[in-house]
Amino acid sequence: MTTPQTPAAAQPLLVADGLRKTYHLPGKDTLVAANDVSFTLPTGGSIGIVGESGSGKTTVARMLVGLVRPDAGTVRVDGRDRTAGRRRGRGERLARAREIQMVFQDPYLSLDPRLTARQCLATSLSLHDAAGAQGRIEELLDRVGLGSREAAARPHEMSGGQQQRLAIARALAVNPRVLVLDEAVAALDVSIQSQILRLLVDIRQDTGLALVFISHDLAVVQHVTDETVVMRRGTVVEQGPTERLLTAPENAYTRALLAAVPRRGWDPAAAVRDRGAAPAGGRRSGKAQED
């Protein structure tokens, strides 16, 4: 996918620095879901995070938007510290919301079941500024390609694709500078998925929105991002321009990941033989769950 390439030298918009999160499991076990995760995202840029289930992708995303407080490390947007943690005032909460927004994996569950599409957008607009809302709602609906029929529908009356469009519109409502998408197309059929991906690319082009695109699907990531971070068991194993990562992976795990993607002339048995890596999962202390 050809996207407007911002010069890498541009001043970083989002900086994740040494993010670390440990979960305490029942008993004495702990699980390091993210360990020293750092990356930067330039203004208008797009970064992908890939990795197997449980590798810590969602944890990182939630730390970025302030839903999870990191044990260590910081999240800075435009140089301002936006790490979740200490009690913050309403002003600061809203300011962060205007900088960074998120789209979730399950489009249905991420929408308030009570509200119609229009109400949903009105709610988030009123949170930030009440004026001129009506025009803005129509504009947003139009932007994500929802018609007037869907505008009056509640989530359970919409298809998954429509739901995800609405979720994106809601995120766009506050004019964020960064959008974090956590497996935002994973639950959709390919034909719908491609519509959403297309929408994202268009929006980026129009608004210069920066993306953090989380996915397990390398092929999708490749279409959306300039830069990719490969995670495994909570740590970053490889990081670099997407192009390079896919053509010349340096890390054995990245190679195994690539080899496992089905494509023409692909043989699963060969992919398995290539795979030198151990199974997935976060790193646990205490009794191992998998072996």
């Binding site: 390919v190 519509q195 279409h223 494509r263």
Partner: protein, 329 residues
């Protein structure tokens, strides 16, 4: 022919269109046959028809035979026997396919005892053997573990072991790797292919991933809104897809290492409530003509032995050359 579905139509009362419309599909022994389609297109229903687990109020027409036995007319013990010994199904989510309160060993032993060839002790030994076969280390210990103590990949192996327990002729793999990581998916696929080859088992491999089906299966059926729209060998699909829907799918699926713009299919698949008298894809088809809206789809033989159900097939065939050129980087 091991599995032979012929003109299967399944209709639910109150639904505007049938769940399955005139589905014909064949699987030979030792063959891996793919069934691809978007969600709701009727893939699972097809697989279920093979086991005769259709909704209570559904009306089914057509014929489904497994190794010559007519499935749709089976009842009682014959049906149980059929389900237990001849056909095994592997579901998408291994975690929900296993009873969470029983040990892995109980699951296998339960199936083995059903086959009638074992008593409890030999069943246990056989279970260890099976787990070993599907590539789980330390199988004796695994038998004593609970499902929640194992990872998804390991559980899918257990489920496969369960399917093998009955020594079936036909395996129905319904999205059986979709919930797994790509690396694990590759392992499981390799395992299934290996087992199938060795025992001459036929496999109906259901997936929504066209690339996967094309790369993995000997032959692939593409399904849309309860109909088979195209039927091709795996390797001819990538470059010689003939139905506009199949081509649309290919165009909108991102492909690793190939950088081309995605061309989404507009609109969305019809629901059961949407009436579709003519070609169900007509509404989304870039090549549709007014006549498509009333044309009842019918499979047309293709020169390479495949089939496609498009009214404009002769013209579409002409367009294939162009498509081939485009798809090659």
């Amino acid at each position: 022919m091991l599995l032979d579905i012929d003109g299967l139509t399944v209709q639910l009362p109150g639904a505007a269109r049938p769940l399955l419309a005139d589905v014909s599909l064949r699987v030979a022994a030792g063959e891996v046959v793919g069934l691809v389609g978007e969600s709701g297109s009727g893939k699972s229903t097809t697989a279920k028809a093979v086991l005769r687990v259709l909704p209570d109020d559904a009306a089914a027409h057509g014929r489904v035979t497994v190794a010559g036995a007519d499935v749709l007319t089976m009842t009682g013990s014959a049906l149980r026997e059929h389900r237990a010994r001849r056909v095994a199904m592997i579901h998408q989510n291994p975690r929900s396919a296993l009873n969470p309160v029983h040990r892995v060993g109980d699951f296998l032993v339960e199936r083995l005892l059903r086959t009638g060839d074992h008593d409890r002790r030999t069943a246990r030994d056989r279970a260890v053997e099976l787990l070993d076969r599907v590539g789980l280390n330390d199988p004796a210990r695994r038998l004593r573990q609970y499902p929640h103590e194992m990872s998804g990949g390991m559980l899918q192996r257990v489920v496969i072991a369960g399917a093998l327990a009955a020594d079936p002729d036909l395996i129905l793999a319904d999205e059986s790797t979709s919930a797994l990581d790509v690396t694990t998916q590759a392992e499981i696929l390799a395992l299934l292919r290996d087992l199938g080859r060795r025992r001459e088992t036929g496999m109906l491999f259901i997936t929504h991933d066209l690339h996967l089906a094309a790369a993995y299966c000997d032959r692939v059926y593409v399904m849309y809104a309860g109909r088979i729209v195209e039927h091709r060998t795996g390797h001819s699909l990538f470059d010689h897809a003939r139905h506009p829907y199949t081509r649309g799918l290919l165009d909108c699926s991102p492909e690793l290492g190939i950088s081309r713009p995605l061309r989404p299919i507009p609109g969305r698949p019809p629901s059961l409530a949407d009436r579709a008298d003519g070609c169900p894809f007509a509404a989304r088809c870039p090549e549709a003509e007014p006549a498509c809206e009333t044309w009842t789809p019918r499979a047309t033989e293709l020169p390479d032995g495949g089939e496609a159900a498009c009214r404009r097939l002769p013209e579409a065939a002409a367009a294939t050359a162009g498509a081939t050129a485009r798809n090659n980087p």
